[in-house]
């Protein structure tokens, strides 16, 4: 009988994440990259709920959940405490979903970055309020079905593009901002290590699929978010002290339809709508110097 399964992992198995969940995988990569000397402040959301139903916890590091919109503020408080108590070598890390970051969490995050607090903020982006049942967020992509952007007779899906969070945080003057994908774990973990080593507010935004939310098969989690990158829909880059560096250029950019057609949340799209999305992706790639 295994007393401590996977002892090297700072997240224990036995949590309630869906089979094939991209977000819990992101959490594994985070802890793998950062190690045990962290204090995690997590927002309400899927990751919080599936890992800590009292009296159980999956976390093998110090961890606190407070509310939905304040992961950044809590992490700032942790960081201030560590500083005031003279405790060195421990990193304050805030983790929240796209909802808890881009929408309700934006104020707290903005404050943390503006103040220059020593916090590594990680946004796991599954492009919707998944924990409450797949409602749209400010990071839901154009055209996507969600329960609050349903495909109806008059309106068809999300009509707004993703809020550009990395750009917003970079505009605050954060010393390090990066995007990542769970299909590129080495890139993700390198960026996390880099961000953690900087004293100050750093931001890493990882695209991580939700299998029921994106309407994909459990086994396709990695494949789909690899395609997000290979089609230029999601670009892997870092902005270090204002300087942009694209960390992965797809060798031959695939049509975005390949990515969209893998997911049930886009199955309603007409060819015309897909073309529109292709144009948006083309513009985005142009901006980043990707052919």
């Amino acid at each position: 009988m295994n007393d401590k399964p996977f002892p090297e992992s700072l997240i224990a198995p036995g949590h309630g994440a869906c089979a094939g969940c991209g977000c819990i995988l992101a959490m594994r990569h985070v802890l793998e990259a950062l190690g045990k000397n962290v204090i995690i402040s997590m927002a309400t959301g899927c990751m919080e709920v599936v890992t800590t139903p009292y009296p159980e916890t999956s976390w093998r590091v110090p961890w606190i959940h407070v509310a939905f919109e304040n992961a950044a503020a809590v992490a700032s408080g942790v960081s201030a405490a560590l500083k005031s108590l003279g405790k060195k070598g421990v990193k304050s890390v805030a983790i929240a979903g796209d909802g808890g970051t881009a929408d309700i969490g934006l104020q707290a995050l903005s404050g943390t970055v503006e103040r220059g607090d020593d916090v590594l903020y990680i946004c796991y982006d599954n492009e919707g309020y998944m924990n409450t049942g797949i409602q749209r967020s400010g990071l839901t992509p154009f055209g996507a079905w969600t329960t609050t952007t349903p495909i109806g007779k008059v309106k068809r899906g999300e009509n707004r593009q993703k809020k550009n969070l990395p750009a917003i945080i970079a505009a605050h003057g954060a010393p390090y901002v990066a995007t990542a994908s769970v299909a590129y774990p080495v890139d993700f973990m390198n960026k996390l290590k880099k961000a953690a080593a900087i004293e100050g507010p750093t931001y890493v935004h990882v695209l991580a699929p939700c299998t029921p939310g994106w309407r994909i098969d459990n086994s396709k989690t990695i494949e789909v978010v690899r395609l997000a990158v290979l089609t230029g829909f999601w670009i892997l880059y870092e902005i270090e002290n204002g300087k942009l560096n694209v960390t992965f250029r797809p060798p031959k950019r695939r049509p975005v339809a390949d990515y969209l057609k893998m997911q049930g949340r886009f199955k309603h799209l007409t060819d015309a709508e897909i073309s529109e999305i292709q144009k948006m992706v083309d513009n985005q790639c142009k901006h980043f110097g990707i052919e």
């Binding site: 401590k4 089979a19 009296p55 916890t57 086994s219 494949e223």
Partner: protein, 86 residues
């Protein structure tokens, strides 16, 4: 069981007592001949439920049968078979 003030959980990782292997409808079977020990399966497993090795070793106590490992293995060394069949 003793309740803590503020519902603080003092035993790290005690969720491991949940054997989520019971969720499975399909189980991954490793072909030891084909497995090269690259470890990609263990990097991509959400739980974690698969140990890197040559061959990789599934922890069936926790594997939820998502099939990511089988889908990602570059050597097609993992097959998903319906749970209950050998």
């Amino acid at each position: 069981m003793k309740l803590t003030a503020g519902a603080v959980i003092v035993e790290p990782g005690n969720a491991a007592k949940n054997k989520t292997g019971s969720w499975r409808a399909f189980r991954p079977i490793i072909d030891v001949e084909k497995c090269t020990g690259c470890g990609l399966c263990s990097i991509y497993c959400p739980e974690p439920a698969i140990h890197k090795g040559k061959p990789a070793k599934v922890d069936y106590d926790y594997c939820k049968g998502c099939g990511i490992c089988a889908n990602e293995c570059p050597f097609h060394a993992i097959t998903m078979v319906p749970e209950g069949k050998r």
